[in-house]
């Protein structure tokens, strides 16, 4: 894992540290990672698994493999 420095406003940092104190977030790194995950979903404009499946239903050209079949295929490639 790479360590990066980020600039954060003092007030936001105080708020963040309060959330850590209250046990809502484990630490500052976790807060940044969580923000990035949410940002990725926002950028994709897909925020839930249901939305992802609706998106895929519009894009698929034929039916997806069933999960068991798909993963069995992957494992049999070994």
């Amino acid at each position: 894992m790479t360590t990066v420095s980020v600039s954060i406003d003092e007030e936001i940092l105080k708020w963040l540290d309060q959330l850590i104190k209250e046990g809502v977030i484990k630490n500052r790194s976790e807060a940044v990672r969580g923000g990035i995950y949410s940002f990725v979903k926002e950028q994709l404009e897909i925020t839930s698994r249901q939305e992802l499946r609706e998106f895929l239903k519009k894009k698929q050209k034929k039916s997806f493999q069933d999960g068991a079949e798909a993963i069995k295929d992957v494992r049999s490639e070994e």
Binding site: K41, L44, Q65, I71, R75, S76
Partner: protein, 169 residues
């Protein structure tokens, strides 16, 4: 806290449209942080790569375009990352000791190397059961029950884990 091992096909059935979406959603809904619920998910880090490969296979099979598959993978990384951050899911790394433990599953159950590693991860993590949509798994991996998410009494089987074992003489 009861730990449930989730096989990779649970994630595939949660992300890709199909007949098993409802049951995959039900499984994910069960997972909660330690102080807020009864069940926590456990899976192996290798499962995430397996999911990537399964999406690439959907491209190779002409189900979706590469760009769409990349969107699924982006979403899965963020979604799994969030579940880990929220302590609803633990991603267990593969260590040398788990690989050594996989040996007994390869020889004892004739499992593929990856399946044997998952079984070792599940066992070492102290899970209450191994959840899979793959009907080829036997009913037990040593003492750990394998619950088939395809079976009619699957939900009942998971809920039974909440009942404390009868220790009366």
């Amino acid at each position: 806290m009861i730990k449930l091992y989730l096989d990779t096909n649970v994630f595939f059935n949660a992300y890709c449209p199909g007949e098993k979406n409802d049951i995959a959603d039900w499984i994910f809904e069960l997972l909660k942080p330690e102080d807020k619920g009864d069940f926590m998910g456990i899976t192996c880090e290798l499962s995430v790569a397996e999911l990537f490969r399964a999406m690439k296979k959907q491209v190779n099979l002409g189900v979706i375009d590469e760009q769409v598959a990349q969107t699924v993978v982006d979403f899965a990384i963020a979604d799994i990352g969030e579940m880990v951050r929220e302590r609803r899911l633990v991603l267990v790394p593969i260590t040398y000791s788990r690989i050594i433990e996989a040996r007994s599953f390869i020889f004892g159950y004739n499992l593929y190397a990856s399946d044997a590693i998952y079984a070792a991860v599940a066992l070492q993590s102290g899970v209450a059961c191994f959840i899979t949509f793959d009907s080829d798994f036997k009913e037990y991996l040593f003492d750990t029950p394998v619950l088939s998410a395809n079976s009619d009494d699957f939900k009942e089987g998971v809920e039974c884990l909440l009942v404390p074992p009868d220790t009366s003489p």
